[in-house]
Symmetry: C2
């Protein structure tokens, strides 16, 4: 007799995101050892399983992928809103980071953020911050899949160029058996890294097959600075340094011009669209239509929670799809199917994992998001694609499966104690307020 | 011994929205006969009450006001998305309206919408559709406060001008004892009503003190048509017809120019900002900064669910505040406090009920929205104002009180059976699909 498999999920509307964009009704998914084993009709076949999940009346889709975030900033949520960017950074975020960034702060804030991602239907993130081991530990505990970037910045002195990337290699080895974690290099930006540092990042990345993750042209000012300092537009500057030819995710990429977009289209470059953050900080609106037209791969990201102030990728999808219809004066622009693709398969492509994730297909990792439709605000349902984008929200995320494990069940986190995380967050808040003085009501 | 009062709500952070924008911590609110009777410190005083509501750890604020919607369109949610406006209207919405708009359809769809408003923290709406009695009945059943507009359109023939407004007066009399309901006149728009009809609406409104509610300059095309047909920009045309001098809410008001905005600022005009709908239909982005600068009263609205596709006013607040920071290149533009005011007190002013609603003050109607902060995605909290706008969403709406009655408790509707509403919606969906053929997946 065959051994029981790990999990069978049964019922509902399955958005496979496969090559034919198949939508399966009332089928079941067999999952074992973290992967999708089979799709089957439960009236015709059974898979004996140790665990079953009834997904009738739900939409079952690949887990959402958040391609650019800063997990350990969770405790800065809403700390200083409606302020000019420079005031926000210089008077609040940077001084606080200078004072607060202990190992305990980072690992606890990252755990908070990782758990929040899961509650929002996100199964994989790409993070950029300091202290990769603390962030790795947090994601592992929450059960969140993550590519964790070593933020590279030139502060008073340049980083140790000889050892750059060593931590990435070391952590890759340490976590070789953990299916959830991977690591990459995250030079912060062209303005925060010297030319020498960026060249060194490119060398290390090329040598070891490490992917890159960086901020690009988030503000008009940094583009002007680049032109003045280097005589080149940012994307041309990246080309000169050898970065552009390497697989990379560029966060924001708002102030690029058609020449730069064409260059990116000819490179293994993806753009992480951060609409909420870009609007809230008044950074601008990226030329999304031009990127799509020239064939640049696009995906979504929340950015850090401090500039959002949530980690809700469904909200990013809704906002971006609507915003760019208006920007392009075309209600048919960026239709729901493409928007869902950007949040799943295109995002997997951006992270170089499209062979393993981003769609529900046999052999792929079992990373799934289950949206419930029982509330009246989710009814009626005519088209599941547009429903995901325009109607459903964080409220409807019922279950989340990552690597075959149910990490959210009926809205409840299964691997961490939410009440405890809330109490921890409140304690850190008190410490931060003590640092800053009681400036907020 | 004093009689028990109806309700005491105790604890949490109370955003009063009063003249001093006071924020009360750990206080209690005494409510009786639908009104706010007292604010008090429960450690120093008690009010014996028949019912108590523990709001510790919550934000307690005035109920949100949705100033422009079409309740009976609930069953059209997501029916035909990502389509050009004319296709959407001509091939889907209008043919369906022509076939489906029975009394049963309207009253059931309106009940669905009314219940959804409540789940989203909305305590009052201003509606525009057909069959006011059916909509009134639905709002009354759900316990939602509503100003219901008689939509006036010239179809093949002009409406009966002699009797225009009679239904409003009749329904005002019929529902004189119902504190939830009021009625007004809603000439659809300058393009859907003849000059004669609009003049008649102005006459009736002036004569009987009826407020007006209309669509204005939602598309560039209608502005061009007005210029061509009447030789005037829309707001100047409204002035000529005697509409502009009357208290009115103008929905959308996107394609107005500075002359028109100045004229509106000198009139009892308010604008209902419908950001989600305007982006999704690619109608455009209104000149919000210019309205505020010249002193036009602004409030928020979801529009009908068919062009949104939700009835989430917290999402409108978040979107609008962020969008206009980017449009104005200023992250400090439209700060959270002003955004919350627009959703409450300014909206009450738009509807002419600012003496009765829009803030939590002694003597005002007890219309309240309670947002829970227990989830980790709601923590930490530094500033309750920005928290309401940027962090919290429909998911955090825990309780809603309208006219002193708890109509939502722990996310559950108290006056209607949600599961029944869902089943009814599904039945109507099947009927509509039969009408249209199985065109959607």
């Amino acid at each position: 007799m065959a051994e029981n498999i790990d999990l069978v999920m049964q019922g509902g509307t399955i958005l496979t995101l496969d090559g034919e964009l198949r939508v399966l009704e009332d089928q079941a998914i067999a999952i074992d050892k973290g992967r999708i084993l089979d799709f089957f009709d439960p009236r015709e076949k059974t898979w004996p399983a140790r665990r079953t999940l009834d997904t009738s009346g739900c939409i079952v889709m690949p887990g959402l992928i958040n391609a650019h975030t800063h997990l350990p900033m969770s405790y800065f949520r809403g700390l200083a809103d409606d302020l000019p960017l420079q005031t926000w950074l210089h008077d609040f975020i940077w001084p606080l980071e200078a004072k607060m960034l202990s190992h305990a702060f980072i690992s606890q804030a990252a755990l908070h953020g990782a758990a929040e991602m899961i509650k929002n239907g996100i199964t994989q993130i790409q993070d950029m911050y300091f202290n990769m081991p603390a962030v790795a530990e947090a994601c592992s505990r929450a059960g969140l899949r993550a590519i964790i970037g070593e933020a590279v910045l030139d502060g008073k002195s340049e980083p140790e160029h000889a050892t750059l990337g060593n931590k990435v290699l070391e952590l890759r080895q340490r976590y070789a058996d953990d299916p959830l974690l991977d690591f990459n290099l995250a030079p912060h930006s062209i303005y925060a890294c010297s030319e020498r540092t960026l060249r060194r990042c490119a060398e290390v990345a090329a040598q070891h097959g490490i992917r890159l993750h960086t901020h690009l042209s988030e503000t008009r000012g940094e583009v002007e600075d680049c032109l003045r300092e280097h005589g080149l537009k940012p994307v041309f500057y990246l080309q000169k340094l050898g970065i552009l030819e390497l697989p990379a995710v560029y966060a924001h990429a708002i102030w690029t011009d058609p020449d730069e977009i064409a260059l990116m289209a000819a490179s293994p470059a993806s753009v992480a669209v951060c609409s909420d953050s870009n609007l809230k900080l008044a950074s601008g609106i990226l030329p999304l239509a031009q990127y799509l037209e020239l064939g640049v791969n696009l995906c979504f990201a929340t950015d850090g929670v401090a500039s959002n102030n949530n980690l809700d990728l469904l909200a990013e999808m809704d906002l971006t799809a609507k915003l760019h219809k208006a920007v392009n004066n075309d209600p048919a622009f960026l239709p729901a199917v493409k928007t869902v693709q950007m949040a799943t398969l295109d995002a997997a492509r951006a992270l170089g994992v499209e062979d393993k994730r981003g769609s529900l297909e046999i052999g792929k990792d079992a990373d799934l998001c289950i949206l419930e439709l029982s509330g009246l605000e989710s009814q009626p349902v005519y088209n599941p694609w547009s429903h995901v984008v325009y109607t459903l929200g964080a409220k409807q995320v019922r279950d989340v499966v990552i690597a075959g494990e149910i990490v959210l069940r009926d809205g409840q986190l299964t691997k961490v104690d939410e009440a405890e995380l809330v109490e921890t967050a409140k304690s850190w808040k008190q410490l931060m307020l003590k640092e800053l003085g009681q400036w907020c009501s």
